[in-house]
């Protein structure tokens, strides 16, 4: 990893070989409920899921079935109610808040459905945020951000503010921000929702390259049928449970 030694020198445990070559991420009987008493709403109902090395897993299902909640729980931005969540050998469900923050900083890249780009910062500054969180010097972080934005065809938009850009361009900045620190685990919520077909495929190609790398994984929540072919497996979720997992490789082989 190009910046690995610099960023993660004090977080080596997250990158030490886990001793496993198969599943990088595993969920066992994970539940999540909101509210108490009669207002209690159970969103996840005992989810079991494994994500393997070099895999892109797409999570699909109707609205309100718990996809985003599952994504949040796996990424450590939401506490689960019960169950075991292991990511790269680390028990996320047992971590304290600050441990989770350190874990997310070191391991996970995020692409949000609503981009969450800071409107007063430039495209390059927005993309550089994960590097600045890792305390990389400002100038170096921006240089790296410009390189990533150029990869996504935004080399002439690096100094623009998000409000000056189209939805598709904003989504590409968000993708650049998710990828810039070369995270081992990438979680994406509807990454192509705001993109036309060409831009959507461009983004998915990039995510595909990242997910294919050794000891990495990508989890994508999507409603976009156009990108289903990019998933190695597709997990179908209904009413808080994984009801089916299709293996695209096998489908391809069969076809």
């Amino acid at each position: 990893m190009r910046y690995g030694g610099f960023y993660f020198s004090n977080q080596a445990s997250y990158f030490a070989p886990s001793g496993r070559t198969g599943d990088l991420i595993s969920l066992r009987k994970v539940t999540k409920s909101f509210g108490v008493g009669e207002a209690r709403l159970q969103v996840l109902r005992g989810v079991d899921l494994d994500i393997q090395t070099g895999e892109i897993l797409l999570l699909v299902g109707p609205s309100g079935c718990g996809k985003t909640t599952l994504l949040s729980v796996v990424a450590g931005v939401l506490d689960s109610s019960e169950g075991e969540i292991e990511v790269f050998g680390q028990r996320v469900d047992r971590m304290s808040r600050s441990e989770k923050a350190n874990f997310r900083r070191a391991v996970i890249g995020f692409a949000f459905q609503q981009f969450n780009l800071v409107p007063t910062l430039t495209a390059a500054e927005n993309a550089a945020v994960p590097l600045l969180i890792r305390k990389l010097p400002y100038a170096k972080a921006l240089e790296r951000a410009r390189e990533y934005l150029a990869l996504l065809g935004l080399e002439d938009r690096t100094e623009f503010q998000p409000t000056q850009l189209s939805g598709g361009q904003q989504q590409r900045i968000a993708i650049a921000r998710a990828l810039i620190a070369e995270p081992r685990f990438l979680v994406c919520d509807e990454p192509t929702a705001a993109l036309d077909s060409e831009a959507g495929h461009q983004v998915m190609e990039l995510l595909h390259q990242v997910g294919r790398k050794e000891n990495r994984a990508v989890l994508i929540v999507t409603h976009d049928n156009r990108i289903l072919s990019y998933g190695d497996r597709i997990a179908h979720m209904i009413d808080g449970k994984i009801v089916a997992i299709n293996n695209n490789h096998e489908s391809r082989k069969e076809s």
């Binding site: 949040s72 939401l78 949000f112 007063t120 910062l121």
Partner: protein, 375 residues
């Protein structure tokens, strides 16, 4: 991250300007009100500084320079006999009434200086010489507020207690607490200007011999004579303390400064809070990406303190310019901004900004970062 925090704040022009303008006004009021109070307090001791003797001897129960508690003339001899004293001379210092040619009366602060040495004379003459006081009926006028006596003009005359006084010189003099003009003359002539009393001597000025401190001499005089004896600094603070304890000035200014503090907290707290609310999603995204609670709090504090620093510069600069344009404290409006006032004003504004920024960020700190995935 701190650089990003500042860009986030300054990029939101309307909120940034609201904060800077609001806090500049708070800072202006703090410095201006504080300087007005300090200026008033400083003026209380102006007559003492004008005389400038190292040790002042008075009645033991004296509370302020404004009081008149005359001593028997024999006390001068008693003080002169105290060991360690270099010299001791009488000083007549009292508010008296002057009758002008148009029949109106005007209060003046009359200084009666030792007939021979003229100790306590004004240090800087603008017109004439202090030795001109040896001429009959002569007085020297202080420049401040002298227009109340017909202007600082040599040859002008007026009456004090039906006796003629002729202006023979003009001295540089600071304005005192009540703004009375200063009139200097000799001790004997000052007594002749006032209605006869059994005792006329209200102060004795003294100086220590070489090698004896003013504090030590004052202490010796107190023990040996039972009179009140003060160093120049003690005398100033005696009068200031009396004013603080017996007037409404401190309470009035304290209320004004407290209101200023409340307004500052409201402006900074509400604006920074609104700013944090507006940016809640972005801050939650930073949190999701692994920004620690401490870093988020530091970002908010950096924003608050930077705005505070800029606002203090603008506000205190404007207050000092205001003070300068209104006469630099020598005019009718009192203005004295010592470094202690600036330090306290700065510290108060920083406390306002610090507390406001913590208040603003507390909601984000409690926020679960999972909200970033909610539509």
């Amino acid at each position: 991250m701190m650089r990003l925090a500042l860009k986030m704040l300054m990029g939101d022009r309307s909120r940034y300007l609201t904060l800077v303008i609001g806090l500049s006004l708070v800072s202006f009021l703090f410095v201006q009100q504080g300087a007005a109070f300090c200026g008033i307090m400083a003026r209380i001791s102006k007559p003492i500084e004008a005389v400038g003797a190292p040790v002042w001897v008075s009645d033991a129960k004296l509370q302020s320079i404004e009081e008149s508690r005359p001593l028997p003339d024999t006390d001068l001899s008693r003080v002169r006999s105290v060991p360690g004293i270099e010299w001791a001379v009488p000083l007549f210092l009292r508010i008296v009434q002057v009758r002008l040619h148009d029949g109106t009366f005007q209060n003046v602060r009359l200084f009666g200086l030792d007939n021979n040495s003229l100790i306590g004379r004004p240090p800087h003459m603008l017109v004439g010489r202090t030795s001109d006081l040896f001429a009959p009926d002569s007085v020297i006028l202080g420049s401040s507020e002298s227009d109340r006596l017909g202007g600082p003009k040599v040859g002008n005359t007026f009456e004090i207690n039906d006796r003629l006084a002729r202006v023979v010189g003009v001295a540089d003099a600071a304005r005192d607490f009540v703004g009375n003009p200063y009139v200097y003359t000799t001790y004997d002539r000052a007594i002749s200007f006032t209605p006869p009393q059994r005792k006329q001597l209200n102060f004795i000025l003294a100086a220590p011999k070489e090698g004896v401190s003013a504090e030590a001499l004052a202490s010796t005089i107190r023990r040996a004579t039972g009179l009140g004896a003060y160093t120049l600094d003690d005398m100033r603070w005696l009068s200031i303390d009396y004013t603080i304890r017996n007037t409404a000035f401190p309470v009035l200014f304290a209320i004004a400064l407290l209101m200023d503090f409340v307004v500052g907290m409201s402006v900074a707290g509400q604006t920074l809070h609104a700013f944090a609310l507006q940016n809640e999603r972005f801050l939650a995204a930073l949190k999701a990406m692994g920004t620690g609670q401490l870093t988020l709090a530091l970002m908010s504090v950096t924003q608050g303190l930077t705005v505070g620093l800029i606002s203090f510069g603008i506000g205190s600069g404007a207050a000092c310019l205001f003070g300068y344009l209104t006469g630099g404290g020598t005019g009718r409006l009192s203005f004295y901004a010592p470094w202690q006032l600036m330090a306290v004003s700065f510290g108060t504004l920083m406390v306002i900004c610090f507390l406001s920024s913590l208040f603003a960020i507390r909601r984000v700190l409690l926020l679960e970062p999972g909200v970033v995935f909610r539509a």
